[in-house]
């Protein structure tokens, strides 16, 4: 029984690490900010979920298991929220680009 749980831990945590790696590979290979955000939010969420799943059989007290789940939930919530905020900022760079030359032009007059 213990052996089975240990195997579950090893498999789940290793799979989790692979998804974290996938998120990083996506961050490096995907073409722009928005597609990179896709890779980070979705792959890391699943990676963390698998790491937490793998650690659950190893906890000594039920409260610690709830704590692990709480950490995953908070990371999920913050990842989803920050992902949206970054996407909103990244998808409106046209205004900045339109403004920047004007500011530079203004500065060069001084």
């Amino acid at each position: 029984m213990n052996l089975a749980l240990d195997i579950l831990t090893i498999v789940a945590v290793s799979l989790g690490a692979i998804f974290f790696l996938a998120g990083t590979v996506g961050l490096l290979r995907f073409p722009d900010t928005l597609t990179r955000l896709h890779a980070l939010t979705k792959a890391d969420n699943l990676g963390l979920g698998l790491v937490v799943l793998g650690l659950l059989p190893q906890v000594s007290a039920p409260l610690a298991a709830l704590g692990l789940l709480a950490v995953w939930l908070l990371a999920l919530l913050s990842g989803a929220t920050v992902g949206q905020l970054l996407a909103g900022t990244a998808s409106a760079p046209d205004q900045d680009r339109a403004e920047t030359p004007a500011r530079h032009a203004g500065a060069s007059h001084d």
Binding site: I18, G26, T35, L46, G47, L63
Partner: protein, 183 residues
């Protein structure tokens, strides 16, 4: 009995939220409750708990400012269906994006999509945004001038709009009830 009904429900909301936040604090900060039970209430434990109690009060106050209680109840069966759907789809999303990242040909067809939503602005729309940001191939980037949601998609060949419509229908039922056949 003489109190107005609104005050009663506000007290209920405050108590429920404060308990939830304090429970969360106990889970995450975990001030060694198991060892302390044997020793009784030491000054250390009392100081720790005081911090937690105050933190929960602050969190409750902020949550009431940012997320005022809305009337009406949640349909728990619909919430469970949404949670299950979300759980499964977020696995699909992670596998999908990992497959694309590792594929040597990098199969992406990114593009934008506008999604006219029936969800009211505020909490429900924010929750919808958070949920769909972890669904396969969709990332909410904002709202346009016509109050439609803007999405960035990883692969426009995927049935992205259909997926969003399904998520939205599940989300609507959490507040309003109804079954699978009513849309």
């Amino acid at each position: 009995m003489t109190r107005p009904k609104g005050a009663h429900s506000l007290i209920r909301v405050v108590v429920a939220r404060w308990s939830a936040f304090f429970g969360f604090w106990l889970l995450l900060a975990g001030p060694g409750l198991n060892e302390s039970v044997a020793k009784g209430l030491t000054t250390d434990l009392a100081a720790n708990l005081a911090v937690g109690l105050l933190a929960a009060v602050a969190a409750t106050w902020v949550s009431l400012r940012l997320l005022p209680p809305t009337p009406g109840r949640l349909h728990l069966a619909a919430l469970a269906r949404l949670a299950l759907h979300f759980f499964w789809q977020s696995i699909v999303a992670g596998v999908d994006v990992a497959r694309r990242a590792f594929d040597p040909r990098l199969p992406l067809k990114p593009g934008d999509l506008t999604f006219p939503t029936r969800l009211p602005p505020g909490t429900e729309r924010a929750a919808f945004g958070a949920i769909t940001s972890l669904m396969p191939g969709t990332l909410p980037v904002g709202t346009d001038d016509h109050d439609r949601l803007l999405y960035h998609c990883l692969d426009l060949d995927q049935p992205v709009a259909a997926g969003l419509a399904r998520d939205e229908a599940l989300m609507m039922r959490v507040r309003r009830g109804g079954n699978d056949r009513d849309d």
